[in-house]
């Protein structure tokens, strides 16, 4: 089975055709299996991220044929093309620079929730959003995130944070709005932050796709948009 790996060195892209050797008869390998085998044989300095091999740590996201997938659970076929997530700047090979995403929420979520009553159950949707593994697959085709790269210029602040938001950040903010422990002021601040990050971009957007199947459109975007603009 041949898989095309896109390597990036000093900004230069190359297509490397790698022949995967199945480890058992009829094996249908995951994209991560291909990268691991390539590194253990012909491409020992191939750079890629991975962690748990169990679709939980969220860091092995790669693009398969141009679409973001969680690498350890993305089966590949002959002729598939594996590359770094295109939604973020590529550092090397399959590694994109992620840290501008999380930094944009620095200081914008409650930290500690002191004094509130903890003995309350959270609603089902709070847990549904907690299933997020931070794989950033949702950045794909996001018009809000795309604003960070308009006119070919990357928009980060002094701390390295992206100025414009993305579905992951909105999920973290909506989670605060669903948290029975957070107080009304914190929930209001979460909505303000969503607006500051560019929530208006969601009004004309057909919706985003989650890497692990969370209904982002209905459980994250819609409640925020309705609360902010009254749209339905």
């Amino acid at each position: 089975m041949k898989v095309e790996l896109i390597t990036v060195r000093n900004g230069e892209e190359r297509v490397v055709e790698y022949e995967y050797k199945p480890r058992e008869e009829g094996e249908r390998p995951m994209a991560l299996d291909v990268l691991l085998q390539a590194q253990a044989t012909e491409l020992p300095d191939l750079a890629f991220r991975y962690g748990c091999r169990n679709r939980t740590c969220g860091i092995c996201t790669i693009d398969v044929n141009g679409r973001p997938r969680v690498g350890c659970r993305a089966r590949v076929r002959d002729g598939d093309r594996v590359s770094a997530p295109a939604t973020l700047p590529v550092v090397r090979d399959m590694v994109s620079r992620r840290d501008g995403v999380a930094r944009q929420l620095r200081g914008r979520l409650p930290n500690g929730l002191r004094g509130n009553d903890l003995e309350v159950a959270a609603p089902d949707d709070y847990h549904a959003l907690t299933a997020c593994i931070e794989c950033y697959a949702c950045l794909d085709k996001c018009p809000m995130h795309a604003r960070n790269f308009e006119d070919g210029e990357e928009r980060r602040d002094a701390s390295g944070a992206y100025r414009h938001g993305n579905p992951f950040s909105l999920l973290k903010l909506q989670r605060i709005r669903l948290d029975p422990v957070a107080d009304p002021a914190e929930k209001a601040a979460a909505l303000e932050t969503a607006l500051a990050l560019g929530l208006d971009a969601c009004r004309d957007c057909p919706g985003c796709k989650c890497g692990v199947g969370i209904d982002l459109k209905r459980k994250v975007v819609k409640p925020l948009v309705v609360a902010a603009f009254g749209d339905s």
Binding site: R9, R23, E27, P44, G51, I59, A102, N111, L113, E119
Partner: protein
């Protein structure tokens, strides 16, 4: 090659952003310290995040669960190797630690009758009380909390490999921490940080056994290698926990967790390749006992082709009344594991209608940096501090679990000792006056800069593969003196080849350099494991010596094996005596354990109908009423 160095000043450096690191950073920051977190993976993407998410909280199911009971459970499970002060600290702080997680957003299911978090219906193996709390989404629930604790207000670098602690060597007293060195791969620079306190919280060593492990790739022994090189002692390094029930196939799932002893239920047993029972009462056994049973069967030629054995849970689901309770228990206690089982092996396996082919996988290092209950590096007699300003927490520290760690304790451990280390590190930073000694940083950095560009033979990534195979074969779940001899020769040879490895000159995300750094950490750590495994020539807990007898826990004086680097750069091994749990305290546990095993045996011998009724009653008393229809509906929903 030339690579830019950026200088920074902080009060506290925390290495790692998992359960221990984020708790340390948060506590130090709350105490007023200026903190830098250094993480090679994205913030919070740690073993805590990928764990099953079950947390030990003392007295969560009743006030009769005293601090003494919990501390004693840890020490007895750990064959008296855990220290008294550390286990007492653990027992004292579980509730605070859990509250910390909750204040960062962890929301457990509530027991509405009691108005407090719901506790799992069965005590996990080795715990004499029910005190484990599970969470929807497993460890992810905790992962969001860690992320929140760090991202909200603390400076951090991710994609950054911590290279070494920099110390000042004093002739007339302990060495002093001056700071640390970092390779920031994403920006292609070195970062030299002046700081009087360093907390090592960079996890374990299971990646030495890849792919036979269920943990994060980042567990390359960094914690232990950093501690050794900084001059600290390590204890109990031979004690590495192998989870008994990890998958042997399919290849993409090899090493991933399939279940715990307790999830074997009342009737789960282990069988060899021919179906003969090799271990019964699995539910009451420790992880170490189950792993040892499999390893010994494989060694005796009774294992499967993939060097595994069969975990047979079918007895639990064959019973019409209690079967649904078991299924519900399984899917509640370890929902993430069951999802993986279903993906890997299909529906019948997930319903426990067929046996599972399993093999031990590396999961957790009980040993680590020798510290006191405030996570301060200590030497012999608890005094004799080798390095001032050095702390370790979480898997990086030793002394909490000894020869066996009980289920659900590590997630508490990270938060408990992380907070203790963070507070201590912040307090020291207030009084410590480090002198500017840039030359100490620069000397070390020059060595790393040399390594960053190296013409040579072997690629570091391929040397890592060789080391991993040797680790599994010789310092894995079964050890012999001959094997250790072979291993030490292999390590010496790999060290030599590593010194001549090929590393291209490239500052930005140099993967070969990263592999080289991790290889060196794995080599240092593996050597410490090998020395400790050689020194302990009898089996004890997780350490199985096929060529030695079992260590008696009733007689004889317990000791921990200590490994440190001597002044010449070699390794020195010594012993630290541990107090023994008095016989009159030990006996009741042994009797209770024997009674529980006897009661399971009696259950197995009863007529099926009677057995079914008794087991149903036991489940119902803690789980409430459960019907076949409920369970089938839930399983269908989960599968969809």
């Amino acid at each position: 090659m030339t690579i830019e160095t950026e200088w920074r000043d902080y009060d506290v450096i925390v290495v790692g952003s998992g359960g221990a690191g984020s708790a340390a950073a948060h506590a130090a920051s709350e105490a007023g310290a200026k903190v830098l977190v250094v993480s090679k993976d994205p913030i919070g993407c740690s073993d805590t995040k990928i764990a099953e998410g079950i947390v030990t909280v003392r007295a969560s199911a009743g006030e009769d669960d005293t601090e003494e009971v919990l501390a004693e459970n840890l020490r007895i499970a750990g064959s008296d190797l855990p220290t008294e002060d550390i286990t007492a600290a653990f027992a004292q702080d579980t509730q605070d630690a859990y509250e910390w997680y909750r204040r960062q957003g962890v929301r457990p299911d509530m027991d509405h009758k009691e108005d407090k978090p719901a506790v799992l219906p069965i005590a996990l193996g080795g715990h004499t009380k029910r005190r484990s709390i599970g969470h929807q989404n497993g460890g992810l629930a905790l992962g969001h909390a860690l992320w929140n604790a760090v991202v909200q207000g603390i400076d951090y670098l991710e994609d950054a490999w911590f290279l070494d602690v920099v110390t000042e060597e004093n002739d007339d007293g302990p060495d002093e921490v001056l700071g640390g060195l970092i390779y920031d791969a994403a920006r292609g620079v070195f970062v030299a940080v002046r700081a009087p306190s360093v907390v090592i919280a960079s996890g374990g060593l299971s990646t030495m056994y890849f792919p036979k492990t269920d943990t994060m790739r980042g567990n390359t022994g960094d914690s232990y290698a950093l501690a050794l090189r900084a001059g600290a002692d390590l204890v109990d390094m031979e004690q590495i926990q192998f989870l008994p029930f990890c998958m042997t196939y399919p290849p993409a799932y090899e090493g991933l967790l399939a279940g715990e002893p307790v999830t074997a239920g009342y009737l789960g047993v282990l069988r060899d390749k021919d179906g003969k029972v090799i271990l019964d009462s699995v539910m009451l056994r420790t992880r170490a006992e189950c792993s040892a049973a499999i390893v010994r069967a494989v060694e005796a030629g009774r294992g499967t082709e993939r060097d595994g054995c069969y975990l047979d849970l079918t007895g639990n689901v064959d019973l019409p009344k209690s079967g649904p309770y078991f299924e519900k228990f399984l899917h509640t206690a370890v929902s993430g594991v069951m999802a993986t089982v279903r993906q890997a092996w299909g529906k019948n396996a997930a319903q426990c209608k067929e046996m599972w082919e399993v093999r031990p996988g590396a999961h957790y290092a009980m040993g680590g940096m020798r510290v006191n209950s405030d996570c301060v590096a200590i030497g012999d007699d608890g005094a004799d501090v080798p390095v001032r300003g050095l702390y370790a927490a979480g898997q990086a520290m030793g002394g909490v679990f000894g020869s066996n760690r009980l289920g659900s304790t590590s997630l508490s451990e990270g938060a408990i000792f992380g907070a203790r280390a963070g507070r201590g590190a912040a307090a020291r930073a207030k009084t410590a006056r480090t002198k500017p000694q840039e030359d100490r940083f620069e000397k070390r950095l020059a060595r790393y800069a040399d390594a960053l560009s190296h013409d040579g033979g072997d690629a570091p990534a391929l040397l890592v593969k060789e080391l991993q195979a040797a680790c599994w074969n010789f310092i894995g779940p079964a050890r012999t003196e001959d094997g250790l001899d072979t291993f030490d020769a292999a390590v010496a040879q790999l060290r030599d080849r590593a010194s001549k490895a090929a590393i291209p000159a490239d500052a930005l995300w140099n993967q070969s350099f990263i592999e080289y750094l991790e290889l060196m950490n794995m080599l240092d750590t593996a050597q410490a494991v090998s020395l400790a495994a050689r020194d302990r020539d009898h089996s004890l807990g997780a350490h199985v010596r096929l060529d030695g007898g079992q260590t008696s826990t009733l007689f004889g004086q317990p000791h921990s094996v200590v490994v440190r680097r001597d002044s010449a750069g070699g390794y020195a091994v010594s012993h630290a005596a541990r107090p023994k749990t008095p016989l009159k305290r030990l006996l009741p546990h042994m009797i209770a354990d024997a009674k529980r095993k006897l009661s399971l045996k009696t259950l197995r011998m009863m007529p099926a109908g009677m057995r079914d009724n008794i087991i149903e009653d036991r489940y119902r008393s803690v789980m409430g009423e459960v019907s076949r229809e409920d369970v089938d509906a839930k399983t269908e929903a989960a599968a969809a």
